[in-house]
């Protein structure tokens, strides 16, 4: 599951949870401009594919933004 509100997915039993960008645009971020938006979306999707190829025993978060520098801009909603 890819979701921007990932914690509640974890507490309600989803076992492989990928952190999405924002409710209104889960797989990417238009405010980053086309190139970075695409790169971010791709990173989210590849993280999701890695997740389904990873054994887990309980709800686990896969964060496309960790480790390494954050792609997410620091804007308030």
């Amino acid at each position: 599951m890819i979701s921007a509100i990932y914690n509640f997915a974890l507490t309600t039993g989803a076992n492989r949870v990928v952190r999405g960008a924002r409710i209104e645009h889960v797989c990417g971020d238009p405010s980053l401009g086309p190139e970075k938006d695409h790169a971010y979306g791709m990173r989210i999707v590849t993280t999701a594919l890695d997740a389904v190829a990873t054994p887990v025993s309980r709800p686990t978060l896969f964060d496309p933004l960790a480790p390494g520098p954050a792609l997410e801009p620091a804007h308030a909603s």
């Binding site: 599951m1 039993g13 989803a14 645009h25 797989c27 594919l49 389904v52 990873t54």
Partner: protein, 349 residues
């Protein structure tokens, strides 16, 4: 005064006096009358019920061979034909608690009233939905007497075919069957009174007991993504432009399935979002935000992923009652499994 009820008591190897952990493998056996704590239990039952037999089973045997154990127990129950089955009390003992819960559930399936008693944190009380009546007890055997009293009282009422009132009022563990109820005093007043009680360390009863969400056993990982078929599902309310299928904006009663076999990407000319729970305009400009077809196609071309499944699934995930969501999820999963899909990405908004 009606005749005493026929009761059967279920205990484990320890309370039957057979032995401790070393005897936990013993199978099912029966004795006439009461055994061990069955004696004070009979006293608690008084004239209202008679423990005609006791069924005993080792905790490990029940845990490792539940079908065999329950088959024998079921046969024994049919022989004894009781009005009610009492199991435990199990207090904090986990395997015993689970065993008691299984026995009671099996008895109910045979049409026999049943009740057990254990600590609320006992796995027998917390595993899955509570389908049987469970009387809460303390953690340890030191609270045996009050536990027996309460177990007996419920057993008599259930044995007589009485329907119990709400768990909160009667004192058994909540079974997740909530219904409308007028509490007679306004909510604001109950809230402030509850605050005062909590602040002063006085006991209070929450009106909404904690109901832990289901846990799901994780599917095993995909061994080789390069050969895998990946499907996409979204609860973001993705629809074809103009919503010709008339997907509702909320409270989904069904899911919608679309073919993307010929598509490299979801374009705003062909797709949009229709979902009453978030601002749809951004997705309307790029529907791949909620169903990442364009990305998966790239990964398919580059060989990172075997195949993109040609069907996508969409529904508006807002105001969906959990029961409906469970059913929709089950149906989609069944579909995907039938189609031989290896993995699915579910995008939620």
């Amino acid at each position: 005064m009606s005749r005493p009820l026929r009761a059967v008591h279920y205990v484990n190897q320890f309370f039957a006096g057979i032995g401790g952990e070393d005897k936990a493998d013993v199978g099912v056996s029966t004795r006439d009358g009461h055994v061990g704590p069955g004696r004070p239990l009979q006293q608690a039952l008084g004239d209202e019920a008679e423990i005609v037999a006791t069924i005993i089973c080792g905790d490990n045997f029940m845990s490792e061979q539940p079908e065999a154990a329950l088959a024998e127990i079921g046969a024994a129950l049919s022989r004894f034909a009781p009005d009610v089955v009492l199991a435990g009390p199990a207090f904090g003992a986990g395997r015993y608690g689970l065993a008691c819960e299984h026995v009671c559930r099996h008895a109910r399936a045979l049409g026999i009233a049943a009740v057990t008693a254990m600590h609320p944190d006992n796995p027998g009380a917390t595993s899955g939905k509570r389908e049987v009546v469970i009387v809460p007890t303390g953690e340890s055997v030191t609270s045996m007497q009050p536990a027996l009293e309460r177990l007996a009282r419920f057993a008599v009422r259930l044995g007589r075919g009485e329907e119990l009132g709400p768990a909160e009022l009667e004192g058994y563990l909540p079974q997740g069957r909530r219904r409308s109820y007028d509490r007679g005093r306004p909510g604001w007043e109950r809230a402030l009174d509850m605050l005062q009680a909590k602040l002063h360390g006085r006991s209070f009863t929450t009106e909404v007991p904690y109901n832990a969400p289901d846990q799901v056993r994780p599917a095993p990982p995909i061994a080789d993504l390069t050969r895998a078929t990946i499907a996409m599902v979204t609860t973001g309310g993705l629809v074809r432009k103009g919503n010709p299928e008339k997907q509702s904006a909320a409270n989904a009663a069904r899911y919608h399935r679309h073919s993307v076999a010929s598509l490299e990407s979801l374009t705003p000319e062909q797709w949009e979002a229709y979902h009453a729970g978030y601002f749809n305009h951004i997705v309307n400009k790029n529907p791949n935000y909620i169903l990442p077809l364009s990305f998966l196609r790239e990964l398919e071309s580059s060989g990172r992923v075997g195949r993109v499944h040609e069907q996508i699934y969409a529904l508006p995930g807002v105001s969906t009652p959990v029961a409906a969501a469970r059913e929709l999820g089950r149906a989609i999963a069944e579909d995907l499994k039938q189609a031989g899909v290896d993995g699915a990405l579910l995008v939620a908004t």
